[in-house]
């Protein structure tokens, strides 16, 4: 029996039999189908995934003509994380000129709208200068990050302290107060960058604090679109499943807790978003083929449901990419090819 060299979801190399790899692909797509109430991949699609996983190639590639648009979250500080003293202007020029970036995103290292609000006047001059230097569409991006609004980091009571005490209504009330504050901060910061000439706003890592976080992003999007009909908004998620931290929040009559990507995108569309960043989480104790089949299944359902562009989140720990700091390029490349060609994503 031929052994196939692949990886686990934590990035470590394993060797598995061909038959086990095929089983992992089938189990991965079935897991997504069962959890999301969506169709599993067809046998042809599973066979294609099998070919990609067994290729043994250092790099894979989509067929010519199938290339997609790349958008980013936090590229202005990825260079500095390597210990290279490049300021944000230089970093984004490197992305545009050296990395083949289709879009750029300017952002602060403390990647939250609440944290940016008091220093936005310091952010704007550099952002304005950057528009003169670059050609690709330039976003501003940050997270709603509702966790920052609760004590001790913020003014609102902490639901994580209230819930163990059985104070459910008080916890829900705290989340609702945090939503209002978050919406105000997102609208304030995004307005500043719209006036400064941004090509778009990225509301990123949405849902990190569960359904209140998603609610804040949707309400902020609606308010911004009302204020600036020409403003372009990308909403990127934090996880595949909206956690019910509040549990009873709705938007347009839809309960937010428990929504998967193909359901999330419809709310983003209705709110006025132009690009949706779909997430499928990687499970570290499952193989890369299992995670890949699962990611492709969820993402394919999302692009089929969407009337707007869908960009798959494919960084560390999402989109079948392993949870490890130095990413294995061959695995990233296999996942990139599969997600574009089978899930038919509009971008990454």
């Amino acid at each position: 029996m031929t052994k196939i060299r692949t990886r686990m979801g934590d990035g470590w190399t394993i060797e598995i039999d061909e038959i086990d790899l095929k089983q992992d692909l089938e189990d991965g797509t079935r897991d997504a189908a069962d959890k999301g109430g969506i169709d599993p991949l067809s046998q042809n699609e599973l066979d294609y995934l099998n070919d990609i996983c067994c290729s043994g190639s250092k790099m894979s590639g989509v067929q010519s003509g199938r290339e997609v648009v790349l958008s980013y979250d936090g590229p202005s500080f990825e260079i500095r994380r390597l210990g290279i003293l490049a300021n944000r202007q230089t970093a984004l020029q490197i992305y545009e000129r050296c990395f083949g970036a289709d879009t750029l995103e300017f952002s602060h290292i403390d990647y939250s709208y609440k944290q940016v609000k008091p220093i936005v006047h310091e952010e704007l001059p550099l952002f304005e200068q950057l528009q003169s230097l670059t050609i690709a569409p330039l976003f501003y991006g940050a997270m709603p990050n509702l966790g920052l609004y609760t004590r001790p980091d913020g003014p609102v009571a902490n639901p994580s302290e209230l819930l163990p005490l059985g104070k459910i209504q008080a916890a829900q009330q705290a989340y609702e107060e945090a939503i209002e504050m978050s919406v105000n901060d997102i609208v304030y910061v995004a307005s500043q960058f719209y006036e400064a000439g941004c090509d778009g706003i990225n509301i990123d890592t949405v849902g990190a604090a569960g359904d209140p976080d998603f609610k804040a992003a949707l309400v902020a999007t609606e308010k911004l679109k009302q204020k600036y009909p020409g403003l372009n908004i990308e909403i990127g998620m934090a996880g595949e499943f909206v956690l019910g931290m509040h549990g009873e929040l709705t938007h347009d009559g839809q309960l937010l807790a428990g929504l998967y990507p193909h359901q999330q995108v419809k709310l983003v569309e209705a709110a006025g978003g132009h690009i949706f960043g779909a997430v499928v989480n990687t499970q570290t104790n499952k193989s890369f083929p299992w995670n890949l089949a699962r990611s492709v299944t969820f993402s394919k359902a999302c692009t089929a449901a969407a009337d707007i562009a869908v960009h798959g989140n494919m960084g560390m720990g999402v989109g079948a990419l392993p949870v490890c700091e130095t990413q294995p390029a061959e695995t990233v490349s296999m996942a990139s090819k599969a997600m574009v060609e089978i899930a038919r994503l509009d971008g990454l």
Binding site: L70, E78, I135, E195, N232
Partner: protein, 112 residues
């Protein structure tokens, strides 16, 4: 896209499945997704029609190097006499029929 070391994530994606940005027409296709919410195939066709080239050509780095120079919409290389940065955006806006917010803001800053 998501986080990760650039060689492992950003460059790997760009080489595997990215449009290529200024090397081809990735920035232009992105503008149609951003401004009109277009899906990828619709956005590519729109850009190809506006450039007057084939769908295959908009992915071709050599062909687009010439086309971008002819249309003065910005090049990867920094060459004398060619529009750079916001200068190129004026021609992109006209070519694609878009009102770019960066140009609106720039005019506001100039006039005060």
């Amino acid at each position: 896209m998501g986080t990760g070391d650039p060689a492992g994530v950003a460059i790997a994606h760009a080489m595997t499945s990215g449009m290529g940005g200024l090397r081809t027409t990735g920035d232009l296709v992105a503008r149609m997704q951003i401004t009109r919410g277009m899906k990828i195939d619709t956005a590519k066709q729109y850009v190809a029609d506006k450039l007057g080239v084939s769908l295959a050509d908009i992915h071709d780095a050599v062909a687009m190097r010439e086309t971008r120079e002819d249309l003065r919409i910005g090049l990867l290389q920094s060459l004398p006499g060619q529009p750079k940065g916001i200068e190129a955006k004026h021609n992109i806006a006209e070519l694609l029929g878009l009102e770019l917010n960066s140009l609106r803001a720039s005019k506001t800053r100039i006039k005060g």
